[in-house]
C-alpha cells in the first residue's frame, strides 16, 4: 500500500519547486502513456493480421498488397507507431473487427453507462465505508465493530460476480422487484444517454451499483480503520488527551482530519479499480457499458477495441496518479525536501 502523508502542510509550496515537480511528473506520465501506446500498437500490428481482419476470403493477393500499402503497413515500425499515436491522440482508433464500426463511436456510446454506474457506486461506497471505518477504529471492541469487520472479510472473500448473481437470484428471480439486466429506459441529453431520469433506469441501476460498491466499501472500511488506528496511537493524540481536550474534539477534529488526507488520495486511486471491476459487474448485469464492450472484445480477439480501451484506461489512471502526486506534494512537506 502507499504510505500516506501524516501532516497537513503549513506553507504553500514555492512556485518554482512546484513547477519542477509537476513538470517532472508530467514527463513521466507522458512516458508511461507512450509505453502503453507501444503495447497497444504492438497488439494492433502483430497480434493477428490487420489485413486479414478487413478483407473477405475471396480477396486476391494483389488487392491485399494494395491494402497493405495503403494502410502503411510496409513503412518502418517507428513511422507506423508515430502515425498510431498521432491518430490515437485525435481519438481515432480504427474500426472494430467484430462490429464494423469506428471504435471511437462505440466507446462514446458506451461511456455514459459506465460513468453513471461508477459514480453512483463510488458514492455509495464512500457514504457507508468511511463512517463504518471510523466507528470500528474508535470502538474496536464493540459488537457492531466486530460485525462490520466480519462483513468486510466476507466482502473481500465474495467475488464481485457472485454478489451480483446472489442479488439477481433474490431480488430479480425470487422477489421480482428489480430488473436483472440492461439499463432500462434512457434519455438522450445531446450525445450523453442518462438513466437517471426514468423510473426503470433508476431501478435498473440499483443492483449493479450495489454489486460494484460492496468490494470498494470493504476496502474503504479496512483502510479508514487502519489509518485511524495508526493516527490514534501517535504522540500528538496522546498529548491532546493529556491536555484535557474532549474526546469528541480529538477524535473528529484532529484524528479524523489526519486520517482523511492519505485516505482521500488512495480513494482517488480506487477510481481506477472501480472502472476495472465495472467490467465484471457489467458482464453480470449485461450493462451496456465500456466494460462489457471490452470483455466481448477480449473473447472475440477484437484488437482495435482492446487497444483503445487499454489506452483510455491508462489515460484515466495516469491523470488520477498525476493529480494524487500533486496533492501529495501540496500536502506533505517531507516530499518537498526530497525533490
Amino acid at each position: 500500500m502507499i504510505g500516506g502523508p501524516r501532516r497537513v502542510a503549513q506553507e504553500v509550496p514555492r512556485g518554482a519547486e512546484m513547477f519542477k515537480f509537476v513538470s517532472m511528473r508530467l514527463f513521466q506520465s507522458i512516458i508511461v502513456m507512450l509505453v502503453v501506446g507501444l503495447i497497444a500498437f504492438g497488439l494492433f500490428r502483430f497480434v493477428g493480421d490487420p489485413v486479414n481482419n478487413m478483407v473477405g476470403q475471396d480477396t486476391t493477393l494483389e488487392e491485399r498488397e494494395a491494402l497493405t500499402e495503403s494502410l502503411g503497413l510496409n513503412d518502418p515500425f517507428i513511422v507506423q507507431y508515430g502515425r498510431f499515436v498521432g491518430k490515437a491522440v485525435q481519438g481515432d482508433f480504427g474500426m472494430s473487427y467484430r462490429l464494423r464500426q469506428p471504435v471511437s463511436d462505440l466507446i462514446a456510446e458506451r461511456f455514459p453507462a459506465t460513468l453513471e454506474l461508477s459514480l453512483v457506486s463510488a458514492f455509495m461506497a464512500l457514504l457507508l465505508g468511511v463512517p463504518m471505518g471510523i466507528y470500528t477504529a474508535l470502538k474496536p471492541k464493540s459488537l457492531f465493530s466486530r460485525g462490520f469487520m466480519t462483513l468486510s472479510l466476507m466482502g473481500v472473500s465474495l467475488p464481485t460476480f457472485l454478489i451480483g448473481i446472489l442479488l439477481i437470484l433474490f431480488f430479480g428471480v425470487t422477489l421480482r422487484w428489480l430488473p436483472t439486466f440492461g439499463r432500462g429506459e434512457v434519455i438522450q441529453l445531446g450525445w450523453w444517454s442518462s438513466g437517471f431520469f426514468t423510473a426503470s433506469g433508476l431501478k435498473s441501476l440499483i443492483m449493479p451499483a450495489i454489486t460494484l460498491a460492496i468490494f470498494q466499501m470493504t476496502l474503504i472500511v479496512r483502510l479508514v480503520r487502519a489509518e485511524m488506528l495508526e493516527v490514534l496511537r501517535t504522540d500528538y493524540i496522546k498529548f491532546a488527551h493529556a491536555r484535557g481536550l474532549s474526546p469528541r474534539l480529538i477524535n473528529f477534529s484532529i484524528a479524523l482530519r489526519n486520517t482523511l488526507v492519505p485516505v482521500i488520495t488512495i480513494i482517488g486511486l480506487q477510481v481506477g479499480s472501480i472502472i476495472a471491476f465495472a467490467i465484471i459487474t457489467e458482464s453480470v448485469f449485461q450493462w451496456p457499458g465500456m466494460g462489457l464492450l471490452f470483455i466481448q472484445a477480449v473473447s472475440e480477439v477484437d484488437i482495435p477495441v482492446m487497444a483503445a480501451y487499454l489506452l483510455l484506461i491508462a489515460f484515466v489512471f495516469v491523470v488520477i496518479n498525476l493529480i494524487v502526486d500533486i496533492l501529495y506534494f501540496v500536502v506533505d512537506p517531507r516530499l518537498r525536501v526530497q525533490s
Binding site: V32, V35, L43, V47, G48, L153, M154, V156, S157, L158, P159, T160, F161, L162, I165, L166, I168, L169, G172, V173, T180, L269, G272, S273, A276, F277, I279, I280, S283, F294, I295, A297, V298, S299, V301, I303, M306, L310, I313, A314, F317, N321
Partner: protein
C-alpha cells in the same frame, strides 16, 4: 511453512513449542478455516475417489438426469446429492473436480508470481542503483493498475497470439501466466525492502569478505531471512488468485466448460438461474466462497501471528 532449513530438535517438537502453534490453537477461526481448507483440498486432490460420479465420463452421464434438483427436494434423486446440471452431470462431483482446477491454477499462479517477485526483489534490493529504480518504477506502474485488468489483458493477448483451436487446451497455462504476471509486484516490493535492511547486516558483510559470490549470499543467506512476510503475502494472494481465476472463467475467458473450474461452473449455471434451477450456480458459488474465506482467515491469522505489533 517449510522455511525451516535446520531440524536439530525434531520438527514436531519445535513446532509444538513455537509461538505460531500457540497462537494457532488459541484462535478458533484459524482452526475452523484450516479444517475447511484441508477438507476442500483433500476433496479436490482425491476427487477421483471421493466423487460419487465421474462427470466427464460420457458413458455414465445420462441426459435424462439433467437439471435434477438437490436430493432433499421433492423431485430430487438420492444419488445426486446436490442435483445435476444441464448435461446431467452430478453437481457435487463437478464441484470436487472444479475445485481441483481452481486450486491448481491458484497455487501455480501464486508460485509463479512469488518466483518472479522474489527474484526481482532480491536483485533490486541487493544491487540498488539504476537497476533498482528501473525495476521499482515498472512495479509502481503495474501496481497502479488493478491485477484483474492486467490478467484480462495478458489473457486477451495470449488469445490473440495463439491459434483459435488451441485456446481450450492451453487455457489453464494461459491463466497461470496471466495471473502470475499480474501478482508479482507485492512480493518484489516486500522482498526488496527487507533485503535493503539485511544487506547492511554483519553476516552479509562477512560473506562478502570471505569472497562468496553474490548469488550464494543472496540465495543461501539473505533469502531465508526475508521469507516471513512472503508467506503472509502468498496466503492472501492465494485467495485473490482463486477469485481472479474464477472471475476470468466466469467472464468466459478462462477455463473452458469441458474441464470446468468453479468459475466456469458458476458461468454455466448462471444461464439457468432465471428458470429457477438455482443449485447449478449456487453450490459451486458456496464452495468458492468457503474456500476463499478460509484461506483469507488463515492469511489474516498468519499476518497477526507473525507480526505481534498489530495486537
Amino acid at each position: 511453512m517449510s522455511d525451516m532449513t535446520e531440524q536439530q530438535p525434531s520438527f514436531l517438537t519445535r513446532l509444538r513449542d513455537s509461538d505460531l502453534w500457540w497462537s494457532f490453537i488459541h484462535s478458533p477461526g484459524a482452526i475452523i478455516a484450516s479444517v475447511l481448507t484441508v477438507m476442500i483440498v483433500a476433496g479436490a486432490l482425491f476427487a477421483g475417489l471421493v466423487a460419487p460420479h465421474d462427470p466427464f465420463d460420457l458413458a455414465t452421464v445420462d441426459l435424462f438426469d439433467a437439471l435434477l434438483p438437490p436430493a432433499w427436494e421433492a423431485e430430487g434423486n438420492s444419488s445426486y446429492l446436490l442435483g445435476t446440471d444441464d448435461q446431467g452431470r452430478d453437481v457435487f462431483s463437478t464441484i470436487l473436480y472444479g475445485s481441483r482446477i481452481s486450486l491448481i491454477v491458484g497455487f501455480a499462479s501464486v508460485a509463479l508470481a512469488a518466483v518472479i517477485g522474489i527474484t526481482v526483489g532480491l536483485i533490486a534490493g541487493y544491487s540498488g542503483g539504476i537497476l533498482d529504480s528501473f525495476l521499482m518504477r515498472v512495479a509502481d506502474i503495474q501496481l497502479s493498475f488493478p491485477a484483474i485488468l492486467i490478467a484480462l489483458l495478458i489473457d486477451g493477448v495470449a488469445r490473440g497470439i495463439l491459434p483459435r483451436e488451441a485456446h481450450d487446451e492451453v487455457a489453464v497455462y494461459v491463466l497461470v501466466v496471466a495471473i502470475g504476471l499480474s501478482f508479482w509486484v507485492q512480493y518484489a516490493r516486500t522482498v526488496r525492502s527487507s533485503v535493503m535492511v539485511e544487506r547492511n547486516k554483519e553476516y552479509v558483510q562477512a560473506g562478502q569478505v570471505i569472497g562468496l559470490p553474490n548469488w550464494i549470499i543472496l540465495i543461501r543467506h539473505i533469502l531465508p531471512n526475508v521469507l516471513g512476510p512472503v508467506l503472509v503475502i502468498a496466503t492472501i494472494q492465494l485467495a485473490l488468485a482463486i477469485i481472479t481465476e474464477a472471475t476470468l472463467s466466469f467472464l468466459g475467458v478462462g477455463v473452458p466448460p469441458t474441464s470446468p473450474s468453479l468459475g466456469t461452473l458458476i458461468r454455466i449455471g448462471n444461464d439457468y438461474l432465471f428458470s429457477g434451477e438455482w443449485w447449478i450456480t449456487i453450490f459451486p458459488g458456496v464452495a468458492l466462497v468457503v474456500l476463499v474465506l478460509s484461506v483469507n482467515i488463515l492469511g489474516d491469522w498468519l499476518r497477526d501471528a507473525l507480526n505481534p505489533k498489530l495486537r
